[in-house]
Amino acid sequence: MLIGGRHLPGLIHRTSPAGALLFHDWESITSVYDRRTGQTHFLSALPTEILRALEHHRQSSGDLAQILSANYDIEDDSLWRNLIDDSLSQLRTLDLIEFSPTTR
């Protein structure tokens, strides 16, 4: 994952624990209610699926890219990795994920 223009190793996890996020899917956007903060977020498909993939386990950005490329049947190439990184940036800005530099 790119942070400040540099790729960093490590794991990503949700700031809210399992069960703390409520998801409601609309046509192309998902409303996400965070029980931890009381905030409601409106996310497009990819950030939503990243949050769902992080429900129970920490993942690296590479693992997330592989898991979701299989789910969406999309080639796991550099373009896909950039989309993943953009979504992770967005989620980090919203305080929905944290970066942990430790290994599992």
Partner: protein, 300 residues
């Protein structure tokens, strides 16, 4: 209220023994100011009224100050449970003060509901939610619908109950402002409209009595079936266009008085309501066309 003579209502109010229902709330009104009692007894003639009651949601006092402002440019003060949330109003504006004051009480306290800033009317058990937006003409449109076959649930507060997602009535007098007053006088010559109050903080205001049916059925909720965002535009054709549910959810959450306070319950309630409702933008200039559009919606 209409079954008690005005003198009896005044006596009860003077002694703090006047209790009446407005939607899910019981109001206990203390006042010695007879003119406001006379107006309220007309506006809410069919409302349930009690001589005594063991419980009231709001204990409202509407009294003239005991100081020089009792006689010199006389004023009237609204207080709720011994708190005075507003500056006194001119005495002749006692009714608008009571109505706005009660709105404030409900907005501050009634968090067992998800409260929308919207009008709601009902037909055949299905509720039409009309969120209030600048330039929407909500109150004018709501008044017209309420006098043309739709039951008024509320002009100001859309009360959604989290447990059921039903819309609960709160049929209060509809405050028309400025130019909307002559519009409604002309469109609905038989409507019960109270006196005009000039130079209020919202300009000239007059209150339309809720139709009798809406007061007699003010404990009957309704299931939201439509969310329609109205916009009055002079000279425009009537136009009803679908809105994506995601957009309707966002706009309604922002429109709510207490979405954040209600937390998860508010989120779940709004999701259920939007899931079940058809959502539209609505542009209009003609009240007859507007009513015909909604009547057509109600038959589908």
């Amino acid at each position: 209220m209409s079954q008690l003579p005005a003198s009896e209502l005044s006596r009860l109010a003077r002694r703090g023994e006047l209790f009446f229902r407005t939607g899910p709330f019981i109001i206990n009104l203390h006042t010695r100011y007879k003119p406001v009692i006379e107006l309220l007894s007309g506006l809410y003639a069919e409302s349930e009224c009690f001589r005594t009651n063991s419980f009231a949601n709001f204990h409202v006092h509407l009294e003239r100050p005991s100081d020089v402002r009792r006689w010199f440019r006389p004023q009237i003060q609204f207080s709720i449970d011994s708190r005075k949330p507003f500056e006194p109003f001119p005495l002749e504006q006692a009714l608008p003060l009571f109505e706005w004051g009660l709105n404030w009480c409900i907005a501050m306290e009634a968090h067992r509901f998800l409260m929308l800033h919207s009008a709601i009317v009902e037909k055949n058990g299905r509720a039409l939610i009309l969120p209030a937006l600048p330039g929407s003409g909500k109150s004018t449109l709501c008044t017209a619908l309420a006098h043309r076959g739709w039951r008024l649930l509320s002009d100001e507060f859309g009360l959604l109950e989290p447990a059921s997602s039903l819309a609960w009535p709160l049929p209060r007098a509809i405050p028309l402002k400025n130019q909307s007053i002559p519009v409604i006088r002309e469109y609905l010559p038989d409507a019960w409209i109270g006196p005009e109050f000039h130079k209020t903080r919202k300009g000239t205001v007059a209150h339309v009595k809720p139709p009798a049916d809406s007061l007699l059925r003010q404990t009957e909720p309704a299931k939201p079936a439509w969310v329609v965002f109205p916009k009055y535009q002079a000279g425009s054709k009537t136009h009803l266009t679908p809105v994506a549910k995601s957009e309707a959810f966002t706009r309604l959450a922002n429109n709510s008085f207490n979405y954040i306070i209600t937390g998860e319950a508010g989120f779940r309630t709004l999701c259920r309501v939007i899931d079940a409702a058809e959502c539209f933008n609505f542009r209009y200039s003609d009240l007859d066309d507007a009513i015909a559009t909604f009547d057509d919606l109600a038959t589908q």
